[in-house]
């Protein structure tokens, strides 16, 4: 790799080139669903960039301030400094409104992308061993994203955010024993307190973002260390990753996505108005506005508050208020369920093996059913949070809608969950490649109770004897060695992502990636120009091939034995075919 003088100077001091070479060669699977998390990442970067700009103009204080500026209905009015500075930012700071709106849209997109990413991880089983840790970090980041979204929504001290803050305070106060203390601890007194805005501000711009940045780094660090998972396919095994290299292909692609995310967010920020706080007016304890909703990502809590019946009871003379169940219990249970899901599923399926190959969702109808049911539940709650808007648009009494939603929130998740379960099972048992190709016969087969094969079991890796036409080809390239995998039946050629320094290493990595494939061709095509060194290398390579393959086979056998030990009652994959017989065959 040709480097500039600066790069060389850095390399001389930090020995960066081996790390850089490996990093640039990292493989990213070519499937769109692996980029959902990147939308979240780039929305977060947009949030930080726009958010830093906003902090220069926002004044996080509840002190009185007279707004003077070009928004006439507030010109000369005394409001809190937080509100006045937000209106000033929106009306008197050039490009301020664009940045503020872009920031808010980025927040909506950030959480939406997290939800999509989480759904992809869930439905494909990417949370299974060894990736439980990243699942836990991801769920934590979702919770933090919700918290930061809500604090950001609350900061401008406008009427709508004040109502939201009062509701969340009421929810916290509803916790038995400690609720009032927790609320007072957070607000520094009774709502609305003067300490409220500064505390929310420091939480929003420092505490939570710092934790988020740390967790994102950890999330990505673990991702690089564990490498990507991938969907099953030709040439893809539990022991490799197939796709594009980070440099140059994926770098361009992901930068394109970054630019596109920014383009979409700025377009929204410029063209679609969001959170017009000047219209809402400053918060006052006795004022309210209608319709009153929070941002969509906390609206499920608001919907639950609306739908939960007016049930309160007393325990030993102490009150458990109505918001406790929809607010605290539901929110807590939701996140506990998310945190525990990998472990619940492992406990139910008794599947303790590591998985690098993802499930197709259809192969786990139960997981699909539960996931679709849960998503439906939260979607119904979000829609229920807009029951007053719906009632107005549809011109129906709001309490009729409320009654309808109370039924729907319980019934619809079961219906969609069962439906998703049956469809997944029909897809799994039938031959249809997608939803559109499902036939009635498939559906009928899916509805029949007897399972044709137990779910949760991966097919054992097909032994080499049954995989004709596959081979590994090695060849020297200058000073280094490359290898590639060829599957003539599937017309597939996959090149190793990086050059290695020796033939042994090439053989070893090839064996790691394709433990069952024993036909090794040394040197493989393309034929290198015959030079003295190359010829010598090739001869030397041929001579050592058999020996290195023998070593590799021994290593492989030991790994198999260990896997058998770890894999409990799992039947061991058939013993590898004799390595030497394949190794000596140059075709």
């Amino acid at each position: 790799m040709i480097m500039g003088p600066l790069a060389r100077a850095l390399d001389d001091r930090l020995r960066l080139s081996p790390i850089t070479r490996r990093a640039l060669a990292k493989i990213f699977p070519d499937h769109w669903s692996f980029m959902l998390g990147e939308i979240a990442l780039y929305s977060f970067i947009a949030l930080i960039l726009t958010g830093v700009y906003l902090t220069f103009f926002f004044d996080a204080s509840s002190a009185d301030r007279v707004y003077q500026g070009s928004y006439a209905p507030l010109d000369g009015a005394t409001t809190s400094a937080a509100y006045a500075s937000t209106v000033r930012l929106s009306w008197d700071v050039r490009a301020g409104l664009l940045i503020r709106q872009t920031h808010h849209w980025a927040a909506l997109a950030f959480v939406a992308a997290i939800v999509l990413h989480l759904s992809r991880i869930y439905f494909t089983g990417a949370f299974r061993k060894p990736r439980e840790l990243n699942w836990l970090i991801g769920v934590t980041m979702l919770a933090l994203a919700l918290a930061n979204g809500f604090t950001g929504y609350s900061m401008p001290d406008d009427l709508l955010s004040g109502l939201g803050l009062r509701i969340i305070t009421s929810v916290v106060e509803s916790i038995p024993l400690v609720g009032t203390w927790l609320a007072a601890l957070a607000l520094g007194g009774e709502f609305p307190s003067d300490e409220m805005i500064p505390r929310i501000f420091i939480t929003h711009v420092l505490l939570v973002p710092a934790i988020l940045v740390a967790l994102i780094s950890l999330h990505l660090g673990i991702l690089v260390r564990q490498k990507h998972s991938q969907f099953p396919g030709p040439g893809r095994t539990e022991h490799n990753v197939v796709g594009s290299r980070f440099w140059p292909g994926y770098t361009l692609r992901t930068l394109a996505l970054f630019a596109w995310v920014l383009a979409v967010l700025f377009a929204l920020g410029g063209l679609v108005q969001i959170n017009p706080v000047w219209l809402y007016g400053p918060f006052a304890p006795a004022e309210s506005s209608s319709p009153a909703q929070p941002d969509w990502y906390v609206a499920w809590g608001d919907g639950a508050l609306r739908l939960f019946p007016p049930w309160e009871f007393r325990i030993g003379g102490y009150l458990v208020p109505a918001p406790f169940f929809p607010g605290v219990v539901l929110g807590g249970l939701s996140f506990v369920a998310l945190y525990l899901w990998p472990f619940i599923e492992r406990w139910c399926t008794r599947d303790r093996r590591p998985h690098q190959l993802l499930d197709r969702p259809r192969n786990h109808p139960v997981r699909v059913g539960i996931g679709v049911g849960a998503l439906t539940f939260y979607v119904v709650l979000v829609v229920a949070a807009g029951d007053d808007i719906l009632a107005r648009l549809l011109r129906v009494p709001v309490y009729d809608l409320l009654a309808l939603f109370r039924v729907l929130v319980l019934v619809l998740p079961i219906v969609t969950g069962v439906l998703a379960f049956l469809i997944a099972r029909a897809l799994c048992r039938g031959e249809a490649a997608s939803l559109g190709e499902l036939t009635r016969a498939d559906l009928r087969r899916g509805a029949r109770p007897a399972p044709r094969r137990p779910t949760g079991e991966d097919e054992p890796e097909v032994p080499v004897r049954h995989r004709p036409g596959e081979r590994i080809e090695l060849w020297p390239q200058g000073e280094v060695w490359r290898w590639r995998y060829r599957n003539e039946a599937g017309q597939l050629t996959l090149t190793n992502n990086r050059a290695v320094t020796s033939e042994e290493e090439a053989v070893e990595t090839a064996r790691l990636a394709y433990p069952g494939v024993d036909r090794v061709v040394v040197p493989g095509p393309p034929p290198p120009p015959a030079r003295a060194l190359r010829v010598a290398l090739r001869r030397w390579g041929r001579a050592t091939a058999a020996g290195s393959l023998l070593v590799a086979a021994l290593l492989g056998r030991r790994r198999e034995r260990r896997r058998r030990r770890d894999g409990e009652d799992e039947p061991p994959p058939p013993e590898q075919a004799d390595a030497i017989s394949g190794g000596g065959d140059p075709t």
Binding site: S170, S174, A183, A256, A292, P321, D388, Y399, L494, A513
Partner: protein, 287 residues
């Protein structure tokens, strides 16, 4: 895919990429000009969006047309280290000089760190105000009390005539307009229509209730005049004022607390005590 000489399609792709980057540059210049002319949020947003969209399109076409997609494989080592590695790492911790072998000292260290951790919790107390009451106490108490006059949102004291029928007047304790749990509202109803007497009593149909919803504390300022109901905008609880402000629909479970009032010797309305119950949302030790 890419040969020595660029193919026709490669040349076409290069042209498209270059055009996209030029459009991006034009968008950036446009943003600068719009900003300079104070052209408004919409143009600023469109220009920036064009600038980034140009970048995105250029890079995307570049990645798809000039760089091969896929075709590579990387080995995956698995994560169970060889037993020898595990044993060697474990041996490091079991070495004689390893601190993990001195259990007594470790216990003492743990004790010290625990004490430090507990001590570090104490400054959290400063997040609570020192000079005010316990939080539950302050939730129960409001600025209302005997002799406190009722004022409107401008701070003007109110006479009974200032609350005509068919309207709702927000009232506050004199001197405490901005206190969160103090807001109340006064309405004049026909006493003959009362199904249940208001908790705080009434003065010839003039009744005062807390403005805060008993569900989550939003101000119930949607007054449905003829129906004698108030509605909460946050979660659509509604309260029947003719039946003692009892909740009749929605998630609220308790009636609105009433405020007992009288006409003072100066002719202005004044409270004779606090609300009949703590206003707003419920909490654990609410009586």
């Amino acid at each position: 895919m890419s040969g020595q000489t660029p193919s026709k399609s490669e040349r076409a792709a290069s042209r498209r990429i270059a055009v996209a980057f030029l459009v991006s540059a034009a968008g950036a210049v446009g943003f600068a000009v719009t900003y300079g002319l104070n052209g408004g949020t919409q143009w600023e947003g469109v220009c920036l969006a064009v600038a980034f969209a140009g970048l995105a399109v250029g890079l995307a076409v570049w990645s798809r047309r000039l760089v091969p997609v896929g075709g590579y494989v990387e080995e995956h080592e698995g994560f169970v280290p060889p037993p020898a590695e595990q044993a060697m790492t474990a041996a490091v911790f079991r070495a004689p000089e390893s601190p993990t072998r001195r259990w007594g000292l470790l216990a003492a260290l743990g004790f010290a760190l625990t004490a430090l951790g507990v001590a570090a919790l104490f400054p959290l107390r400063s997040l609570l105000p020192w000079d005010r009451q316990r939080p539950t106490r302050s939730l129960k108490d409001t600025p209302w009390g005997p002799g406190i006059r009722l004022v409107d949102d401008q701070g003007r004291p109110l006479r009974p005539d200032d609350v005509p029928a068919d309207t709702m007047v927000a009232v506050f304790p004199e001197g405490s307009i901005d206190v969160g749990d103090a807001p109340a509202f006064a309405v004049r109803l026909n006493p003959e229509r009362f199904i249940r007497q208001p908790a705080g009593g009434h003065l010839g149909g003039l009744v005062v209730w807390s403005l805060l919803c008993t569900h989550a504390g939003c101000p119930v300022r949607l007054y449905l005049k003829g129906a004698g109901r108030v509605l909460c905008p946050c979660h659509q609880s509604s309260f029947d004022l003719l039946a003692g402000a009892r909740p009749i629909a929605g998630p609220a479970a308790r009636p609105l607390p009433g405020l007992p009032i009288e006409v003072g010797p100066d002719g202005f309305l004044r409270a004779t005590g606090d609300f009949t119950a703590p206003p707003g949302a419920g909490f654990w030790s609410r009586p």
